[in-house]
Symmetry: C2
Subunit: 337 residues, 2 copies
């Protein structure tokens, strides 16, 4: 049953034996500022090279901090998530962290078990990109001295860092963009996944429009995907009088919406219809779309995360709001004036 010998990882002890020095000497050779003679150091490095020795960071993590950061994320294949993961892994790595990724569902239970796993591996910090952990779980993390960073998760939970984008600004600006373009019949396309971010963009857009005396048709046909945006367009234009100005709370929805409008109903943009998105995914810049949208300032957000985790003392945990930057392309008519 038990395999006879399977511990091929070479340890400091083996290096010490081969080099004819004490294990402490090996340890000191690989720690900066420790006192080792040049001669010993040379012998150790030689033996280490021959055996292929690598310091065991897991064991080192027993004493000090593990340097592990966990990324909880769902829907990695979504362009926007992939970009966020890309930026974060890059920047965290550059800061000397090691990234453990947990591909979780968006439901509460799967986020919960993921967060628990995070603790099992003594991660210094957990960055939550999707799904919202319960307050109780976050408390457990904090009790274990772990920092928690929520990105675009809203519901600002106390004790952890909250980074988010100014959805209010986006909703407001989207409306002004469409009004300036002379749109008369507004619609808002969202998804059935009622995330706080999406809800806020929707709420603000609708409120501002109503305040300006315009009504808004709200449509949600499924998850936050291309297909769902496509379907929303079919439903909206299947009616007698379709909209001529649409704010899609996500670029993916917008692209699906545009395709349906063009290919199923022969509409042309921005002549017959203006569309505004949100996220600024690469696909939106493709020649077939040239979508006017708002960019999430990912690099700034990534920098901020690194900065937060750099300071070991989690001083002020709070909410940090980032301004999305409007990207002007061709899916909205330039204003008349």
């Amino acid at each position: 049953m038990s395999e006879p010998e399977r511990r091929p990882f070479v340890s400091a002890r083996m290096v010490a034996e081969r080099a004819g020095v004490s294990r402490s000497a090996v340890s000191r050779t690989f720690t900066d500022g420790a006192s080792v003679s040049e001669e010993t150091r040379r012998k150790v490095l030689e033996a280490a090279g021959e055996l292929g020795y690598h310091v065991n960071h897991l064991a080192r993590g027993l004493r000090e901090s593990s340097n592990i950061v966990c990324l909880l994320v769902a829907d990695i294949t979504t362009p926007i998530r992939a970009r966020l993961v890309d930026v974060l892994t890059r920047k965290l790595q550059a800061a000397g962290k090691v990234i453990m990724i947990i591909n979780t569902g968006t439901d509460e239970e799967s986020t919960a078990s993921a967060l628990r796993q995070t603790l099992n591996y003594r991660a210094d910090a957990t960055v939550v990109l999707s799904g919202t952990p319960s307050a109780k779980l976050i408390e457990t993390s904090l009790a274990n001295g772990q920092q928690v960073v929520l990105i675009n998760r809203d519901d600002p939970l106390s004790g952890c860092h909250n980074l988010s984008v100014d959805n209010e600004m986006a909703g407001r600006e989207a409306f002004f963009l469409l009004r300036r373009a002379g749109c008369k019949r507004l619609a808002l396309v969202t998804s059935t996944a009622r995330t706080a971010s999406l809800l806020e963009r929707e709420r603000v857009f609708v409120d501002v429009a109503r305040a300006a005396g315009m009504s808004v048709t709200v449509m949600a046909s499924g998850p936050t995907t291309y297909a769902s945006g496509y379907e929303s367009a079919r439903r909206l234009f299947g009616r007698s009088q379709g909209p001529d100005g649409v704010f899609c709370v996500t670029d993916l929805l917008a692209l699906g919406f545009m395709d349906a409008a063009r290919h199923e109903f022969g509409l042309s943009l921005p002549g017959d219809l203006c569309v505004v998105g949100f996220d600024d995914i690469e696909e939106g810049d493709w020649q077939s779309y040239k979508l006017t949208t708002f960019a999430q300032p990912f690099t700034a957000m990534g920098d901020h995360v690194v900065e937060l985790l750099a300071q070991s003392s989690p001083a002020e945990t709070g909410r940090q709001v980032f301004e999305p930057v409007p990207i002007w392309r061709k899916s909205v008519r330039p204003s008349a004036d």
Copy 2:
């Protein structure tokens, strides 16, 4: 300088003290099949719950295997990579592994340092999705008892598992598809990143075409991106006589190519031009493209990786080739017959 007290992680010892039992009892409570009385177990679980205790898998990994699998990957934002990462993380997690992700460059040096980090964390296995590690480095990994899996990396290196897609079949089938559609002037669009996979698709396509008495214009304008495919189309159609049948070695290239052909030169597909891609990214199924392509069988590949890592004894390390499956959409004319 040294912080006075900062070890907030709760350990088995603390739980033991609180529950009034020995530390061994705590350990046994959390290991299946160990001998603990119901009473002790209850006390331990209660104390653990109050303190928020979580077994330290890092410490456990010191004795047994770490259950860590490293993913070396570049260009995560690329749709195809994101999907691969998604599938692998999902399946590996389900198999009880923990995934450490390293966002590396494609250059040799950055792959090297990434692979070394892998060893530092005693990963059971390393899965390389991009970049090709040197043979010497792989040797070090193997010497440390670590399994290495290369996906679509070709250059079959001995000692590690190689999974790849049948590029030869793809190149051949792409040609037959275009010929059956009646295309007379063939072109092949690739990137300047001369990966083995891409090179093989190119080689086979060109060879088969020549054998059939047709010449092929080969064009590469940059990295494996949409923009580069777009540029290739501009160059090809800027000449007197553009191609009427094109195999793009990647879907992203194909989509860029199609957009340029349509929007810059007013061509219509599949009437004036037939395009075949490779990868089957989601965007290819969008209404604006409906790209005929070959799908990489990711779920099968993922299953195979899990299977390989499940068996602790790395029995036969070799090459496993997966058949891409043709996806018929609308960017190629149906054959005349």
